[in-house]
């Protein structure tokens, strides 16, 4: 087959049919990435509504009921619609090319796992236009808010979560099968690029905990419609049980989001430092250690439910233990850069910002892990600031870096470095203006998930909103940059794209042909 992106001349079905019926890992990766970007813009516009309402104290633009729907939908769409599918898209594109496989192991299931996602989010989003409104109980959907007091549309929400869970499980099984069965000869486990390693571990996490989430929403469904009382104290159940089950899923979930981001950064930093990754095997072990620890720390989200002191101490120390493998990773990234020949292209800028801001978010996480102090911080903007430092400056910055890093390989065109850097600086400054003040608000006692606030919080909220609009604008610039690169970027056919980039994906022609590694490469 000829080089370059597939065209109709290659005998592919036309227009919509090509995308609907595709089983090609690159096509499906592209679908995932565009879908996640659309969800990112939608979830982002919910955030803009939230920040516009919080620009000044008092109620100006929307009703409190709608505000609650916005915070809930923002969280759900960003976690399940934007970040997770974005990394699945990167996995689809890159994992076969990184391990020398011709495609994913189960291509038709791959197609299915993508194409049920738009339906899940159509169902979820449609609730906003229904009587009673969309989900309004926070993205953590604690019972009884999400059962006894939920709007009738909660059943759509449950169905949507079931579908996206099924999609994630199928996607992960596919990744595990690809990595375990389809590595090129000589590509031993300990030679795999770190992005593949982090995704392999993430996929196991997903297979383990997405069914638990499905179980949680199924129990909600039963409580709401079939008269069971899993979470209803009136019938002998316990609402606290919901929180335990949710966070048994929810804590591994945050590592599901961040581990592939670690992988991306571990690919990019060595390239632009022109040095191999420092401490490769310690990176692999640290990833596995984080994944293991993520299962035994869940109740640190629930320090205020009234746990016995022994439980609080256990979850506190176990949580703090996660700082050790995470510290190993941060140390390795910094040491990779140390005395390297650094250049600061856009992907590298985002990666360095990732290391700095993620570490910052990690430190506020350490503060939150202190059981005694958490009672003050719990459910304040301090928590909001903390998880946006790790989710946005962590996962989203890393995803953005990945797109700039691999986009030339995908489409054979270079992005405009000046425009990329412009986006980085607007995003970096906007992000910090948005979320840094939220630490102060939280420490001063501003609770999260409220449509209004006391006058003493007015100034920092206004600053935070201005930063949010700036950060939102940076995403439109991102869209512009990507579209302009694909359409009108400077063509390149250098297989390596980046000087000294290492890995099998840089040995295939640029742009990556529709089919790669039909004959497996030999890895020495």
């Amino acid at each position: 087959m000829a080089h370059g992106p597939a065209t109709l001349a290659d005998g592919l079905p036309k227009y919509l049919a090509r995308w609907l019926f595709t089983t090609n890992h690159k096509d499906i990766g592209t679908l995932y990435l565009w879908f996640s970007f659309a969800m990112f813009l939608m979830g982002g516009s919910f955030a803009m509504i939230i920040r516009a309402e919080l620009f000044q104290p008092g109620m100006q633009l929307i009703k409190p009921e709608f505000f609650n729907q916005m915070t809930t939908m923002h969280g759900l769409v960003m976690v399940f619609g934007a970040i997770m599918p974005a990394f699945v898209g990167l996995a689809n594109w890159m994992i076969p090319m990184m391990i020398g496989a011709p495609d994913m192991a189960l291509p038709r299931m791959n197609n299915l796992s993508f194409w049920i996602l738009p339906f899940a989010f159509a169902i979820l989003t449609a609730t906003l236009f229904m009587e009673g409104g969309g989900p309004n109980f926070g993205w953590t959907f604690y019972a009884p808010l999400s059962t006894t007091y939920a709007p009738d549309t909660v059943n759509y929400f449950i169905f949507g979560v079931h579908i996206m869970g099924a999609s994630s499980i199928m996607g992960s099984i596919n990744i595990i099968a690809t990595v375990m069965n389809m590595r090129a000869p000589g590509m031993t486990y300990m030679k795999m690029p770190l992005f593949v390693w982090t995704w392999l571990i993430t996929a196991f996490l997903l297979v383990a905990v997405m069914p638990v989430l499905a179980g949680a929403v199924t129990m909600m469904l039963m409580d709401i419609n079939f008269g069971t009382s899993f979470f209803d104290a009136a019938g002998g159940g316990d609402p606290v049980l919901f929180q335990h089950i949710f966070w048994f899923f929810g804590h591994p979930e945050v590592y599901i989001i961040i581990l592939p981001a670690f992988g991306v950064v571990s690919q990019i930093i060595p390239t632009f430092s022109r040095k191999p990754l420092f401490g490769y095997s310690s990176m692999v072990y640290a990833t596995a250690a984080i994944a293991f620890l993520s299962f035994i720390v869940w109740a640190h989200h629930m320090f205020t439910v009234g746990m016995p002191i022994a439980g609080e101490l256990y979850f506190m120390y176990a949580t703090m233990l996660i700082a050790v493998p995470t510290g190993v990773k941060v140390f390795n990234w910094i040491t990779t850069m140390y005395r390297g020949s650094l250049t600061f292209e856009t992907p590298m800028l985002f990666s360095i910002a990732f290391v700095i801001l993620f570490t910052f978010g990690g430190f506020t996480g350490m503060m939150l892990s202190i059981a005694a102090a958490d009672i003050q911080y719990h459910d304040t903007y301090f928590v909001v600031a903390h998880f946006h430092y790790v989710m946005v400056a962590g996962a989203v910055f890393s995803g953005t870096a990945a797109v700039y890093y691999w986009l030339p390989k995908w489409c054979g065109k270079m992005y405009d470095e000046t425009m990329g850097k412009l986006q980085f600086w607007i995003a970096f400054i906007g992000f910090n203006i948005t979320f840094m003040p939220q630490h102060f608000l939280g420490l001063a006692g501003m609770p999260r998930r409220y449509a209004d606030y006391g006058l003493q919080f007015a100034d920092w909220n206004m600053v935070s909103s201005i930063g949010a609009f700036m950060y939102g604008g940076a995403q439109l610039l991102f869209l512009y940059n990507v579209v302009r690169t694909i359409g009108w970027g400077k063509p390149t056919d250098d297989p390596q794209v980046w000087e000294d980039a290492v890995g099998l994906e840089w040995t295939v022609p640029t742009p990556a042909p529709y089919h790669t590694f039909e004959k497996p490469p030999v890895v020495n």
């Binding site: 189960l106 099984i173 595990i176 389809m182 638990v212 179980g215 008269g227 104290a233 009136a234 335990h244």
Partner: protein, 185 residues
């Protein structure tokens, strides 16, 4: 084709893993949670009906027992203890009453859910008779004196001098029509 077979095998294994985790969440975690709370007593739940045995009353100790009644959500009943606090000796059987009145114009069924604080006292608070063992049907405007007979176990940890028993009253009218509620509490 060999590749196909190994992919299928892995697919089946991992799918089975996912199904196991789903079943684990629904069928194992809730009972495990209840068991854990029961064994450690940290849920604050009291046990079922207690068979009174002749035990010596420990007159050297005085325990203050406080009663709290809460209406869940907005169940429009009057519900309060007739005595808010009493002082008892461990081993002594005492009877108290709660007052309940259905203020609405329709027949309702309510269920009181008990909770004991401090957590380490829950296992030592024995109820030989309690209205909370059954649901409470009250016709429109009807009122009732609800009985509770309890014994504080003499083995109550010495650090505990005050025990708070709280009842939260839930409206289970809809539920009790649909199915027979039987609670062990």
């Amino acid at each position: 084709m060999a590749a196909r077979t190994i992919h299928r095998k892995l697919l089946l294994q991992l799918s089975a893993g996912a199904v196991v985790m789903f079943a684990f969440a629904i069928f194992v975690l809730p009972p495990l949670y209840d068991l854990f709370c029961e064994v450690t007593g940290i849920g604050g739940k009291t046990g079922g009906a207690y068979e009174a045995v002749a035990i010596e009353v420990d007159t050297s100790r005085e325990i203050e027992v406080q009663f709290v009644a809460t209406n869940n959500a907005t169940i429009p009943w009057d519900f309060y203890p007739t005595e808010e606090r009493i002082v008892v000796h461990p081993g002594e059987s005492r009877a108290v009453t709660f007052f309940a009145r259905n203020r609405t114009g329709r027949d309702m069924v309510a269920q009181a859910i008990p909770n004991v604080l401090p957590n380490n006292a829950a296992d030592y608070f024995h109820k030989t008779e309690c209205f909370c063992f059954n649901s409470q049907p009250l016709a429109a405007g009807e009122q009732a004196e609800l009985d509770l007979v309890f014994i504080i176990d003499p083995d109550l940890p010495v650090s505990v001098n005050t025990v708070t028993l709280s009842y939260t009253l839930f409206d289970i009218t809809d539920r009790s029509e649909a199915l027979q509620v039987s609670l062990v509490q």
